[in-house]
């Protein structure tokens, strides 16, 4: 019998103690959905709060929260309706459906790199020529087709009002860019993050918490002036060493990482933008703080055909996991002005920013005046609306369309040259108008929770110890009476409620032997167990036990809040929490 891998061990613990498990088990589960329990929810929030701390509060970047369901036009503009799809194939006999490219990899030995490059037709041909059959019933497979991997719904009572569950939180930031920029008093660079649920309707997700249909995404969109791409904070990270696999190395067939400083990676052109490198360095440090050693991390550059449709350069930060090998935990993409431009085109709202500068630019400004008489005649009752639409739209777009196609479509209305007057004015401007560029670091919270647990999972003999970094522990301290009699429980409850009122995540437990209770708290990563014993009743001291070393120190109850606060802020080590103590 093979021994269980870490994924099995962690999952069993996670389910039993309340980190996470497959959602809706009573209804047989739904693959791709998990539930976080008492401990998992706190761990997840602490990870997200650490992101807020490291990437937002300290750098003065913002966080917003916008809807998960967005109208269809958002994802038409963003390119998701066009591109966010997977090749799917159905068995003609049992009607089961499969990811066509995965099937091709599994049954015909085609590599994932090759499969990802293939068109739908090529996949179909390859399946046919290699005689790929249904893996479940051996039946013949139909022609592959694309399956849109966004969840679709209808907003309100009108069937035509299509909405989608967002596959990324980024679009919620891009569509609000104008307002966010005004609120930030029109300053660049500007960084805006969003942490929230996202939805991807995968054809057949497996891999537990690693590939989910509903998950929590952490998207940070960092907007900057493409003419000023320099990162003034680079000095803080330039000597950080990254383990990098550049695209040019991959194209030569190697996946061996180069160890290189941020500074060198920029100089050698491996990373094209300073801000991209800056956030990659922060991401590396972030994962180290989550418990992943440097040599278990790497950044792999995406090849052209692997990149998302919006990305000009992209790296995946990968972490080594026992079952799945190198696994993406964050993506770092240079999205250029792709998204803002796309929304500008689709909505007709100007997304450009104006930057005052010394230089004087003379430019011709085009504007469009609706001709109300003609519009009135052609559109009747809708004329005011059409006129309003015309004055809101981008004059450049409208003029270009009239010239090239002879008309322009605005929310279904066909605008002809006769409906408008194109007005040109010369203007002298002291500055430039441009669409900001974007660097995006993006994490998945659920995966990070799993990664923390896998790296924290250790054995000491037959005992499990979850060595979660102390500041992420979902239960910070346990308060335990040595025995449940002679007034010890009362005293321990007193200590417990002091710690609660001082803001700690503290638990009280009196059931079972003290050894069993220690084991129970080791298993969920509680860094410190406080034991109230007979001596406590005499001198108001307690013992503190370290999860990782099982060493004990003795200290006064009155000093606990301050000492523990320093300990959890990493300002004090365990041995400095009291005087060494050995059981008498």
């Amino acid at each position: 019998m093979r021994s269980p891998d870490k994924y099995e061990l962690v999952s069993e613990l996670a389910r039993r103690r309340g980190f996470f498990w497959p959602a809706c088990e009573i209804y047989g589960g739904v693959s791709g959905f998990i539930a976080f329990g008492q401990l998992g929810t706190v761990l997840k929030r602490k990870i997200e709060d650490k992101f807020r701390e490291r990437f937002l509060r300290r750098l003065g970047l913002y966080e917003i929260e916008s809807p998960i369901i967005l109208p269809g036009r958002v994802f038409e503009a963003s390119g998701h309706v066009e591109n966010f799809k997977e090749p799917m194939v159905e068995c003609t006999r049992c009607k089961r459906k499969f990811r066509a490219d995965h099937l091709l990899q599994e049954s015909a030995g085609i590599s994932s790199t090759e499969a990802e490059k293939m068109t739908l037709e090529e996949i179909g041909e390859a399946m046919e020529s290699r005689g790929v059959k249904c893996p479940e019933c051996g039946g013949d497979l139909a022609e592959p087709r694309y399956f849109l991997t966004m969840f679709q719904t209808t907003i309100g009572p009108y069937a035509e009002a299509v909405g989608y569950g967002r596959p990324e939180a980024a679009q919620g930031i891009f569509v609000e860019f104008r307002r966010l920029y005004e609120q930030a008093r029109e300053r660049l660079p500007m960084g805006v993050a969003q942490i929230g649920h996202a939805l991807r309707n995968e054809i057949s997700p497996r891999q537990g918490p690693i590939r989910l249909r509903e998950f929590t995404i952490i998207d940070l969109e960092f907007f900057f002036d493409p003419e000023k791409p320099g990162c003034p904070l680079l000095g803080e990270v330039e000597n950080e060493v990254l383990r990098l696999i550049p695209a040019e190395v991959r194209l030569k067939g190697s996946e061996e990482p180069i160890e290189i400083t941020v500074k060198e990676a920029l100089e050698k052109g491996y990373i094209k933008m300073e801000w991209l490198a800056f956030f990659m360095a922060l991401a590396k440090r972030f994962l180290v703080e989550l418990g992943v050693p440097e040599d278990k991390q790497r950044f792999i550059e995406k090849l052209a055909w692997e990149r998302a449709h919006y990305s000009a350069q992209g790296f995946d930060q990968e972490v080594y996991l026992d079952r799945w090998g190198w696994t993406e935990v964050s993506g770092h993409n240079y999205r250029t002005d792709f998204d803002l431009k796309s929304h500008m085109e689709e909505s007709g709202v100007d997304m450009r920013v104006f930057k005052e500068e010394g230089r004087v630019v003379e430019r011709v400004e085009t504007s469009v005046k609706p001709k109300m008489d003609v519009i009135g005649r052609d559109f009747r009752g809708d004329a005011p609306k059409v006129a309003r639409l015309i004055s809101k739209t981008s004059p450049e777009e409208l003029e270009k369309s009239l010239e090239e196609r002879g008309f322009y479509t605005l929310e279904g209305y066909k605008i002809l040259p006769s409906h408008v007057e194109i007005v040109r004015k010369k203007r002298v401007e002291r500055g430039r108008r441009f669409v900001p560029h974007v660097i995006e670091p993006s994490f998945g919270s659920d995966r990070l929770v799993y990664v923390v647990l896998e790296y924290a999972y250790t054995k000491k003999g037959s005992r499990t110890i979850l060595k979660i970094p102390r500041d992420l522990a979902p239960i910070e301290v346990a308060v335990l009476p040595l025995v449940s009699r002679d007034g010890l429980p009362e005293k321990a409850r007193e200590v417990h409620s002091t710690l609660i009122s001082e803001g700690f995540l503290a638990e009280y437990d009196e059931s079972g032997s003290i050894g069993r209770r220690y084991a129970r708290f080791d298993e969920v990563g509680t860094p410190i167990c406080i034991t109230v014993d007979y001596q406590t009743l005499e001198d108001e001291t307690v013992t503190l036990r370290d999860r990782d070393t099982w060493e004990q120190v003795r200290t006064e109850i009155g000093r606990l809040p301050q000492l523990l606060r320093e300990y959890f802020r990493w300002e004090r080590e365990f041995k400095d929490l009291g005087t060494p103590y050995r059981k008498p």
Copy 2:
């Protein structure tokens, strides 16, 4: 011209400064969806964290996080597919759609109480007899029909796998009850909360942040033994005075609240369950901490036909708002064992808990043995699955159905008496098996954000001051150089980065006159502005300015972190942050 109401004032400020605004404005907005900006996101999280602090951490209750999209069966079991709907009517001419009961209220002067009681047929008849027409185009209206107000989607590539966006977070807790109960080591009472997005596909939401299609819900499900309904914590709240409008008072036509202590309200039977009263008292205190005075709050009991389908007694906590009058901010329902029982029936999984007790109960235990020969003959390849389903199902349910209907349906398989053997064993148990009962307090975060802003919104002459309770302020301190020259900016940046590294939400600002900057921070509720002036360069002291009184004190930079920490924890008042200071 009428002067703007508070909703207009708050909304304008919220949009301009980044609290909240209608989402997707560049695409014309989608009613019922809002975006929270930089300041709104922090305020919302601080409100939710205060809930966590007051309702969870201090009481030892749990929080979980489960999916927003759940499979159809969950909401079939919960009764939502059946009951979560609104009467809708369509205009036969312009095809616009309306809430039928609202139209009846607006055009025929029928009260909301009356309209809510009416069946679909009665609504149709009333509209017909009163000649209600389309309010937009005057056209004839079709027969009203029900519109399901859940967002529907498909999970995965199979069209029959219907999923819904959850209209409440509660079901995500009920379906996981068994696991949560095991993780909590099978103890009652047990409280489990979930804070997350929820979706209600309203026909035509207006009212900005008050009625949303996507919103954040805070559901707390408190499970207890119905034979032990007492609340041991009642002493902590029994003298809290509630402003209560019991159903019996409403039925007499009055909406005048009775001022009554928790204790009396229980004694007089106005509130039927102690835990219900306990959480109502906490909810009142919570709203006081959010800035709503006692006399602007009340609890109104729901009448039988107003209650949700799962509720045996329900109160709405209402807050008085300038535009909308008394508005629900939380619901408090006694859900009995309705939900757990419903899921037990639908899933066949036993949701009962076992409680060991002194008394010895002799009971006959029924179990069901699948007869494999008959099952094999009738179900062939599916036989093992059918046998597994039979052994998982509740024997009582199955037996009852076989007796009453002659068959039992299990995931589409028709089970006949010939397929099973009913086995009975006598067992002596030291305890009872029962389905726990549930009290549910439930808040909406978005509304709470709005409520905090409306109650914080004040004018001092022409200046706006947002008197947000200090511990909820999204920007805690602003650091301002008096002028932007002579080394003051450098010194101020130093102070700013000290405060950042000490964990404060601090902003630095040097643009514009000091008076304008004070005004800017007053308007977003920053409790304290720290000014660095020429004296700072000499003696390392700064001035602190109070948002609400505009008073100033002077204090040493080195003492700031500790003083401010105490101030934000309400352990120190503004005047005790330094020595009184008047501008020289």
